[in-house]
Amino acid sequence: MKFGLFYEISVPRPWDRETEKRVYDNCFEQVILADELGFDQVWAVEHHFLEEYSHCSAPEIFLTACAMKTRNIRVGHGIIVCVPQFNHPIKIAERTATMDIVSGGRLEVGTGRSATWTELGGFGVNPDETKKTWDEIVHCLPKMWTQERFGYEGRSWSMPVRTIIPKPYQKPHPPLWVAVTSPGTEIDAAERGMGSLGLTFGSFKEQGEKVKNYRRIIRNCEPVGEFINEKVSTANFLYCHEETEKGVKNGRRLLGTFNFLAAQLLACREAFPTKSYPSLGLLPTLRQEAAGPGDDSGVPEGIAIGDPERVLRACKNWESVGVDRINFLINALETIPQQDVLESLRTFARHVMPHFRDEQQAAAAAGGR
């Protein structure tokens, strides 16, 4: 089990220049601390126009800065919206290779297609097309990274033969992931030999089924890349405090704020009838979680909120259903004061991470990363 941070970078109104700068600075401080504490990765989403919810429209810049400020933590560019109107595939290949070089081979690449009308409508994208363009791009990307010369004639995009440079520092290339929100996307990930990057905050049972399915299918996959990334990651909230009451209270505030922000977005399915988006994205899962079984504290099952013992239990449960990595959302709208966020990370590292360290060291000794 490895742990990481997961950034939407939500910024409360009013948006004067100091607010956005302060939020970004706080994120950098958190990432630097996470690196020192032994967290394995930091992920940043790509979102556009999602006011307050996510001011992270240029994650490659944010992550590059993170890499420059840290030594070990891996940087997860995810997900990159694999829709040509958002990101031209050549630019995706070039910019990820550059990030991999400047970070010294610490890049992870998450892929996806956006789930909101807010974004798809903003870029003038037909929602029916996004799964198809994603599929084309993920099949091209490893070739663009590894072949000296590359040309392509496809359905959503084409290019004559050119030399796409630079090439990634990691050989053969960085690990590839797929954002899994819609039901069945874990199958898409498995069939292509890509990691499953869970971005919903689902229940153990639901995730356990998805993991089983994923592991079964990936055995017979046709990898898009030059290696199979058989890893399952899930997203979670984190607020860890030695005093149970404070841990639960602050954690629930974080949870409630995030759920409220997510609810304001216009899910593609809500406004545009299409087979391409069978679920509303994050929201139904969040609602289910909010209403789902919790313990006496009222915290939904599996959410890493509360005292270290409770947070440890949640992480161990995720591990037991086959999850390899948990990426934590640690603040929303700055609702938790920065010093408390940092202290929560320290408390987690002090009391929870050691329970997983031996396994990580054992894996490293056996040749794992």
């Binding site: 009308w117 304001q264 216009l266 406004a271 009838p273 299409t274 087979k275 909010a290």
Partner: protein
């Protein structure tokens, strides 16, 4: 800073358009084989806030929904109605606020208002299906107040369509309270289509928007469906002056 919430003056709006509801204990209705034409259209964000009650907060981006429904069967016979709704959120749930509704049957207007608080007033409503298009028209005293079309009809599946539950500003006859009544129908689809949307006429003032706050921006989608609509018992009401998190009351299981 508090989140963006609607800014509608509910009392002023209700004085003009709200109907009386006879308590919250209605029996459900089923409207068999109803035809539904539903057009989602982005609207100006800031102005749109003026058309949402303070209970709700806007979606991002703001959008309006124009709906015309023709019901061949109901407990009061055939009727058709058209409505204009502003999309929003009640807490974390997507909900549409019905600005106004026109209906061509007096019996249906009375029942829809008394049972579910629909703000229905008299109007002529027509849904016409042709091979190349579906045409919806709402008129008041012969003058069109809403005209829309769905061109290039394309079959889809019923579960590709997501309708949003609606909120009706109504006065409860039992206690005189002004409330937002939530109505969350269920749909069983027998046909579903989508196409290219055209909005030909929208008379803002006729729909309760005398100050022109509903400014159209980017069209999103139009769909047509044939479905059995189950109008349920009322489950929740909200205080129109308080955010849904604080002002929602459960009235039935």
């Amino acid at each position: 800073m508090p989140p963006r919430l609607g800014k509608l003056d509910s009392k002023e709006f209700a004085a003009k358009y709200a109907r009386e509801i006879l308590g919250y204990k209605t029996e459900p209705w089923t409207l068999k084989k109803a035809q539904i034409l539903n057009f989602n259209h982005e609207i100006d964000d800031d102005l749109g806030d003026d058309l949402l009650p303070r209970t709700m907060h806007p979606s991002i981006p703001a959008y309006a929904t124009f709906t015309i429904v023709a019901c061949p069967e109901s407990p009061v016979g055939a009727f058709s109605f058209g409505e204009v709704k502003i999309a929003g959120r009640a807490g974390v749930r997507p909900r549409d606020f019905v600005l106004r509704s026109f209906c061509d049957s007096e019996a249906a207007r009375r029942e829809l208002a008394q049972r579910w608080g629909y703000p229905s007033t008299p109007g002529q409503v027509k849904l016409t299906t042709r091979h190349d298009r579906i045409i919806g028209r709402v008129a008041v005293e012969g003058r069109a107040v809403l005209e829309m079309e769905m061109l290039d009809r394309d079959l889809i599946a019923g579960n590709d369509i997501q309708y949003i539950a609606s909120m009706h500003l109504a006065r409860n006859k039992e206690d005189g309270q002004l409330v937002l009544v939530q109505v969350d129908p269920e749909f069983v689809f027998s046909r579903a289509e989508r196409g290219r949307p055209i909005l030909r006429t929208l008379d803002n003032a006729a729909w309760g928007d005398e100050r022109g706050r509903l400014k159209l921006r980017n069209p999103i989608s139009i769909s047509y469906a044939v479905a059995d609509i189950a109008l349920p018992r009322i489950r929740y009401i909200c205080d129109p002056e308080r955010p849904a998190f604080q002002g929602t009351t459960k009235v039935a299981a």
